[in-house]
Amino acid sequence: MSATATPAPAPAAPPPVETMTVKVNGKTLQVPKTMPDWQGKPQPTTMLQAARFAGVDIPHYCYHDKLPVAGNCRMCLVEFGTPMMGPDRKPVLNEDGSPKIAKSVLPYEPGTPRGAIACASPISPGMEIYADSPATKQMREAVLESLLINHPLDCPICDQAGECKLQEYSVQHGQAGSKFVEAKVHKPKEVDLGPRIVLDDERCVLCTRCIRFTKDIAGDDALGIVNRGSYNTIAAWQEGKFDNNYTLNTVDLCPVGALTSKDFRFKMRVWFLKETKSVCTSCGTGCSITIGSREGVIHRYEPRENDAVNGPWMCDEGRLNYKWVGRADRLKDVLVRGQKSDWTTATREISAKLAAAPAGSVAIIASARQTTEELFLLKKLATKLGALTDSIAREGEGDKLLVNADKNPNSNGARLTGIAFTEFGFSLPKIADGIAKGTIRTLIVFGEDVTKHGLGADLLAKLDTLIVSEILPNATTAAATYVLPGAAHAEKRGTFVNVKGRLQKFMKAVEAPGDARAEWEFLHELVFNVTGQNGFVSIEGLFNQMAKEVPAFAGLEWAKVGDTGVNVPI
């Protein structure tokens, strides 16, 4: 459970959950009569959901918690039994008084067990689910065998290897030998579905997760099945035209290696990837993500399930927006008046200048792409220096699913720490005016190219000192007295507050290049040198201090913010 800053108003007490008794693998348990379906609507609890209460995971390919149920893979077939009813419609009892159970059998062959698909079959009172009986295992083995007879078994070169449900279930339910002696069905190996997706039809198990996601979640009826029977293949309405902003989710959803990402295809074995919990920075939604990296290089972003933010999905644009982190022209050196320098020199000089600066002679333009902790430190500097502060709005287009029109990941962080007003850019004209009139002599810029926002090179030239922290070079860094190379979010820890007030923390996946450092590290040195305040040497300490000082974060502790974040009042 994640902590909340101020407890949300208690929702009306939910009605008591009605339960029924079922048995799973011999274990008696009470389970709710209804459970949320893929849209969150209460529906009769299924056998698959009931089994989870017993800690039993029933294998499946086509079923997905957040998609409409299809029931086509048949991997979740389980043997079951229900209380036997007498002619008087009363339960028939065993000698010990327990209800007699009638096991499900084929109506036309009473000696043969009949399975039910656990994903779609509702439980009934007294039902017994035999999720590991010999009959259930035999059904699973047979389904897996059917899925494998025409499968190319090209695991050595398959991107999915290592995270493939065929492999996983083969370990559990596979058979050493195959009795298949016929020629395999061959299908297209490299179908260009769309700009970001390539399909290998031979690996496809036709579970239709991709079709259902694209139609029912992304709202784009672009995928379907063509041909018949064993020759069925997934197809886009027009080859190459599967192109909405959510297509790459189908690669995550694909339980096998059929749908592949052009970006990731044949690039990296997944078992070499280090997984780091992080947050997408491409817009104000702040989807929870997992960064896959190896030896300091990021290879992919994947959505990380978070029902408070993005569910299990993310947009393609955000997912592919990682390559700038590894760009060759990243700022790697500390520069003092254009010359390569070092952190000790730059920090000493900047600290001395700021300590001596008359009140009101410094202005700060921060970025809502910075972490909340960094903005908090900048605000401390600003308070001490009597500095005007502001941030820069970044507006774009949103959509109905996840993409927000606010392209900054931490606009609310900038507002809550007091760096910017509700309306970004409110103070920019005043800062420009101050520079023009000569009252502002020092400008601190973090992560923005102010030359594009009314502070042109001519104006910047009037300053005594321009202190710039950036990740990539731009016109502002070109004009800077001091260039302090910063770290991308993937290279440090911190928090963002999304457009809905969800505060999420993110972890460090890779090292920053060269001398680049996490901004909060050198900012806390500057703050100490200029204000004398200390105590922020670790991100934990810094966050906890911020929680004490910023009202919106009251009561929060770094260690208590869970992986999916907490809501804060905005």
Binding site: G71, A120, L153, F180, A183, R228, S230
Partner: protein
Amino acid sequence: MPEQYKLILKHADEPGYTPDLGCYLRHGGYEALKKAFATSPRALADGKSLSPQEVVRDDVKASGLRGRGGAGFSAGLKWSFVDRRSGKPIYLICNADESEPGTFKDRQIMHKDPHQLIEGMIISCWANDVKLAYIYIRGEMPHGAKLLEQALAEARNAGFLGKNILGTGYNLEIYVHRGAGAYICGEETGLIESLEGKRAYPRIKPPYFPAVLGLYMCPTIVNNVETLCHVKHIVTMGAGEYAKLGTPNNTGTRIVSLSGDVKQPGYYEIEVGKVTLGQLIHDANFGGGLKPGRSLKAVIPGGSSSKVLKAGEVFKLNRKGADGQMTKVDVPMLDLPYDFDSLQAAGTMSGSSAIIVLDDSRSMVETLANLSEFYAHESCGQCTPCREGALWLAKGLHRLSHGEGRKADAEYLSHIAQNIQGRTICAFGEAAAWPVLSFIKKFKDEFEAKGAADEAAHAKGAGPSHELKLAASPNQH
């Protein structure tokens, strides 16, 4: 000697009988509809009363009418499952996708007497508060579709269809929808998907029982062509009189499609259970016997998906004696009464009432290979066991029937089929598996002999095929 009993096909084959409305009216057409509309409410013992529509529904249940499509389920019971409280419209669909190999009965009705179907439909729709109905006709029957369109237009012009039918205030429209030629469209939920404009993937049940969540997620009745025609006759005759036709629990008449190795293949309408399989095959009124010099080998009794019966088989069936007690009696295969229950008791089904007769000139291996090829081609491919299993069976049988067999193939094929039946979304799994399971069970010697002969031929130097090389090392794919 038993004879045909022509109820549905009473006029269809009479000289000069034409499918137009005028001819139908001259033969008493649409009188049943008028009679249905004039039904009086019926008082019940408990003081409640049934509305006229409820009376007709009750009569259909009381008549014992069972579905003529394949499953033989009680039509009245099916109607009683319809969710009438949902507030959604109720739809009725006539399943005219007749495509089970060996079956050619519904097309006789549609081609020769389309108004009989339409009258049966209008009565059924009225009785079930249906305002919109569809006839889903198989794509390969363009002529039937054309005749039905014409008949519907005639009925509309004559006031039997459309708004305020015969001045009763009841409105109904019926549309013809042509399939595109897939066997699976005969499966009622696959049919509904197809009618909705989608790929005919059968729906999972639960939750998508048509009576509750059918066409456009509304309550829906799906009945076979012949079944709907019987509703007209139940109204005309009254449930009690109708139920006297046939035998108890197997009431009315049925049109049997007889094909294969008989002298007189064709369609024959009989009272259900009043004629035996043997009479249908041998009597001069029906099949007229086998071709000269041939002996009977097997009978596929209810469409190609039903389990085969072997000549000479004897079944133990329950029979009610004169004292009213049930006793087990031996019934030879040819003495099986042709009805729902007897064939079920014999381990097969009357299905779509299509009898395929096989004489001793037929290879069971090749016959089964042919059937399996059909099912592999028609599997929709939605669910795993059928998608992969149906083609697997067909490939194995193709191999066995083309000189590449193995003695072990009989077991091999049975095992594959066993893993299909009962594990699929729809009954197609059974349709694909049952012929294999029953052919191999009953003719195992023939299958093993064929495989053994192939193996022997290869051992003599014919050289194993590519597939057989793989078979030698079974751990390879």
